[in-house]
């Protein structure tokens, strides 16, 4: 049987062409989408700022510990030097450390201008305990929270001329007063009743009244010829041969920080004022002491600059720390 030729062959080609066209156009759309999506992916700092926060926080807590330890181990006189030395060590530790999976450069330095300073009053010659211009009553330090050290050497104990009259008493007061008017006072005098009964006496009182009284009649350590060194801060009186031991009184007991420290010579004109030397370092400002005896201390409540640097993030954070942080150990 002979089959007749048909004209249906072209349909298959047509369908094939349309399918190929669809595939080509579809892949163009798809590839376009892929290309654009590729260019959108952002490369942010991947939380670098948050990481830096954590690192700086870690440094801060290390610095707090450092300041606390150095503060406990030194007086204000050597605090700054010791602090800088210890900081050098700490810096070395951090320089060799890679923080937060990144290469980070950290620099920690003491910021002298932002740090809270103070003063050192040092009368190193045997003189009257008078202020600038010979003032009997004068302000040694204003608005202080940390005092360390506060030593006095009394070479000549004050002596009254008169016999028994209170108006002729000669005494040296060291007062600490706060803004609320609370007072703590250390009084150094002699209670001469007559020419023969010369008596050394130290009286401590505050708002609640007289707290402690020490006299050479009652206390053995007070029977030396002197000179007496009084550690006002720790409540200790020593001479070359005697030692009262610490804790005779608590400095500035009942007075709130910040307080002022004043010297007051009760001097009626006759007799003799106390003479000696003293050394007082504090974080307040000085107002009444002779300029020749006053030296500024730059760093007491230190401020540190922490410079954090990594490729994506750079900044400096300043941390302010207090010298007298609460010991929470």
């Amino acid at each position: 049987m002979v089959t007749e030729p048909t004209d249906e062959r072209g349909q298959l080609l047509l369908i094939g062409a349309v399918v190929i066209a669809l595939v080509v156009i579809g892949s163009v759309v798809l590839l376009n989408g892929m290309k654009y999506t590729d260019t959108v992916g952002t490369s942010g700092t991947d939380g670098a700022v948050a990481d830096s926060d954590r690192t700086v926080g870690m440094v801060e807590s290390d610095l707090e510990g450092l300041v606390k330890r150095v503060g406990n181990d030194t007086s204000l006189l050597t605090f700054e030097r010791e602090l800088r030395e210890n900081l050098t060590q700490l810096r070395r530790v951090y320089t060799g450390m890679t923080a937060d999976r990144r290469s980070v450069y950290l620099n920690i330095s003491v910021n002298g201008t932002a740090s809270g300073g103070g003063i050192l009053l040092n009368q190193s010659d045997q003189e009257d305990f008078v202020g600038d211009g010979g003032a009997n009553e004068w302000n040694a330090v204003t608005d202080t929270t940390v005092v360390e050290p506060f030593d006095m050497t009394i070479d000549d104990w004050p002596s009254a001329t008169g016999v028994g009259s209170p108006s002729q008493e000669v005494a040296l007061y060291i007062n600490a007063t706060d803004d609320d008017g609370n007072l703590w006072s250390l009084k150094i005098n002699d209670t001469r009743e007559g020419p023969s009964s010369y008596t050394r006496k130290i009286t401590v009182h505050n708002e609640s009244g007289v707290q402690q009284v020490y006299t050479n009649d009652a206390d053995d350590w007070f029977n030396d010829s002197g000179p007496y060194t009084i550690d006002v801060l720790n409540g200790r009186v020593t001479t070359n041969t005697t030692d009262s031991g610490p804790g005779l009184w608590t400095f500035a007991n009942g007075v709130n920080e910040p307080y002022d420290i004043t010297f007051d010579n009760e001097f009626p004109g006759g007799g003799q004022r106390a003479k000696g030397k003293y050394r007082l370092a504090a974080d307040g400002s000085g107002t009444g002491a002779p300029a020749s005896e006053t030296t500024p201390l730059q760093v007491i409540n230190p401020a540190f600059d922490i410079y954090y640097h990594q490729p994506e993030v750079q900044y400096t954070q300043t941390v302010f720390l207090r010298h007298d942080q609460e010991d929470d150990e």
């Binding site: 007749e4 004209d7 072209g10 047509l14 062409a17 349309v18 066209a21 669809l22 156009i25 163009v28 759309v29 376009n32 989408g33 290309k35 654009y36 999506t37 260019t39 959108v40 992916g41 952002t42 490369s43 942010g44 700092t45 939380g47 670098a48 700022v49 948050a50 830096s52 926060d53 700086v56 932002a114 600059d305 410079y307 490729p311 994506e312 993030v313 750079q314 900044y315 400096t316 954070q317 300043t318 941390v319 302010f320």
Partner: protein
């Protein structure tokens, strides 16, 4: 027999017209296909650009928020610089980012297309504690920073 007769029957039909019709209809179909594919591509691009701008502004806002948090928590005493590389193009077009402060204090970050054919702008509101200064940067590497002198967050170019 009738079937055979109809198959063989070619009256009223022309081979040329059959071909012309076939080609015409095919051409019409393919043209429609191309047009619709083109407009679909356009829509796709539009969508991709919008998504890209949103992505970039999200990134910038995240960086600003992080800096804001760091600045408001601590005592940052210098500029706080972050350098971030964003793509030079999204959806094949150049864009720009503008940090703007409305008169009522609302801070909005706009990511704008710089191509007149795709005129679009993606605003993202910023909730910040540190003040913000207005800033502008075209696409690419961007400096997102806290300006210590002016005490504000802003964006700008990278000095190198």
């Amino acid at each position: 027999m009738i079937d055979r007769q109809l198959h063989a029957d070619t009256r009223g039909s022309s081979t040329a017209i059959t071909h012309a019709l076939t080609l015409g209809i095919t051409a019409l179909l393919i043209t429609i296909l191309l047009f619709s594919a083109g407009s679909m591509l356009d829509q796709q691009k539009d969508r991709v650009i919008r998504a890209g701008l949103l992505d970039v502004s999200d990134g910038v806002v995240t960086e600003l928020n992080q800096i804001d948090r760091t600045v408001s928590n601590g005592n940052v005493s210098s500029d706080l610089n972050t350098t971030v590389s964003y793509p030079g193009h999204v959806g094949g077009i150049v864009y720009s980012v503008r940090l703007s402060v409305a008169p009522d204090g609302t801070v909005i970050l706009y990511a704008n297309s710089s191509n007149p054919n795709y005129d679009m702008s993606v605003p993202t509101k910023l909730s910040n504690q540190t003040a913000v200064c207005e800033g502008y940067k075209s696409s690419g590497e961007m400096r997102i920073y806290y300006d210590a002198d002016r005490d504000c967050l802003t964006i700008g170019g990278v000095d190198r």
